[in-house]
Symmetry: C2
């Protein structure tokens, strides 16, 4: 499967993506990893209604016009369905869905606790190895999940719009710290200049680019700003955090909620001691 993916076989890639979503792709990803590090991995996040999808469409069009390939991962942490109806509609609406050099994959939570950020990161690893020039991770919705997902991208774009009020500003607080580039979309609206001034005043050390994505305005500038940011996925800091996170995820996978419950019960009733019990769980890694 590894060779097919590297050779550009899209059906093999789709099968591999399914393995990634199921958390069963580690051996494959281990083999593919040396081929990664070439793609630009772009996280795009922001408030609902900010125009993220339109921006992604326009960026894709511009990158395709350069003769380069694009993979898009649309992530919806709030949806219980994998590739559910809403995301399906979203995919069909995209003007590039028929272009063989644009690969689109939607992902959603499966009711499992955590793990979505890690799965998304693994998906970008797969797409990077498959040779896409640019991998765009678009998150739908707002929350800690989005922050976690975006943090794993090489370059993070936070999309804002003028006049969203104080509530939304508060929601955005968590996103402010992770932004490498700010996009003020719908910049033809009232309040765009004020928002730009506020962002500059906050001294967040990230460029602020006004766009009107619907009309294709400012798209080239966003791409130029993004390409000017040193990608995080080549830094030691990025991998330090990622390795820690992978360790934690693997560990929690080894114990089911049912098993934890009966273990806790045995200890509470003093039928087991917690020390040897924890050792026993950890010894499962000796497979």
């Amino acid at each position: 499967m590894q060779q097919e993916i590297v050779n550009g076989d899209r059906r093999a890639l789709a099968r591999a993506a399914t393995l990634v979503e199921a958390g069963q792709a580690d051996p494959l990803l281990a083999e593919l990893f040396p081929r990664t590090g070439n793609a630009l991995i772009l996280g795009i996040t922001g408030s609902p209604g900010a125009g993220k999808s339109t921006l992604v469409d326009q960026l894709t069009q511009t990158i395709r016009a350069e003769g380069k390939t694009v993979a898009i991962v649309a992530v919806d942490p709030s949806s219980p369905f994998s590739g559910g109806a809403l995301l399906g509609d979203r995919v069909r609406m995209m003007q590039h869905h028929a272009d063989p050099d644009v690969f689109i994959r939607s992902m959603a939570t499966r009711g499992a606790m955590g793990g979505l950020a890690a799965t998304t990161a693994d998906m970008t690893t797969l797409l990077d190895a498959a040779g896409f020039d640019v991998v765009i991770v678009e998150t739908v919705g707002v929350g800690q999940d989005e922050v976690d997902i975006a943090r794993l991208a090489a370059v993070t774009v936070v999309v804002l719009v003028p006049g969203m009020g104080d509530d939304i500003q508060a929601v955005k607080a968590g996103l402010m710290e992770i932004a490498d580039v700010f996009v003020i979309n719908k910049a033809d609206r009232e309040g765009a200049d004020r928002l730009a001034r506020e962002l500059h005043a906050a001294d967040l050390n990230a460029p602020v680019i006004p766009t009107v994505a619907r009309e294709g305005k400012g798209i080239a500038e966003v791409l130029a700003a993004v390409r000017n940011i040193p990608p995080k996925n080549r830094t030691v800091e990025h991998w330090r955090e990622r390795i820690r996170q992978m360790l934690r995820e693997k560990l929690l996978k080894t114990i089911s909620l049912d098993e934890l419950e009966s273990a806790a019960r045995a200890v509470a009733e003093r039928r087991r001691d917690p020390y040897s019990l924890v050792d026993e769980i950890l010894q499962r890694f000796s497979y």
Copy 2:
């Protein structure tokens, strides 16, 4: 060593406590665990200057007057010294330091990240197995560490004083949720009634006991309230959290900061893949 501890040998107990602090007591604690569950484990926390130490002294005196034994663990998360000068003074100041049926141990951070709450919990396991009727965990200072430490006690007493102002009230916010019993110490001061009313109004479902610890007032009432609370260390919920925490702690111990750094560097430079690397680290548990 196990038998000596159970037989009440204080020197063996002190040696075992040192092993616990060094994180090397798991086999011993596994053996001792079936003998635990009899001690009342009492966490005492609150703002600096609230009179926690005086309260602990007075509680100890009352419990000793009943003919029962007491172990006191004084924890200072902010101090870089184990059993440092300040805590040493604290111990010598206590009126019970010459009583063979009162065992006093001070603990402090060793500059290691996290782990103090877990070490404190292990220490209470040791003292419980050693046959003390009551184990008091007194935390010095205020912060997330104190919350974590207190949460692992069977019953948590939060000590407040009247007239500490809004700043302190905010600091206490994290402590409010973990309180099984509130003590309003220095209750002869102005504002005690108002504080009691505020606590009742907040509907925290925990009794509020006024004391003047310096004069021994209200001590019997505190003890009665504490003994009326079902102890957490016998519940499944308590052990579910504790087992998860023990798993995480053990995992993080297996990788040093230096090793994590060079691993992250190897991955960032694509000399290693993170998937097989994480598996390699986890396979160390197969000892």
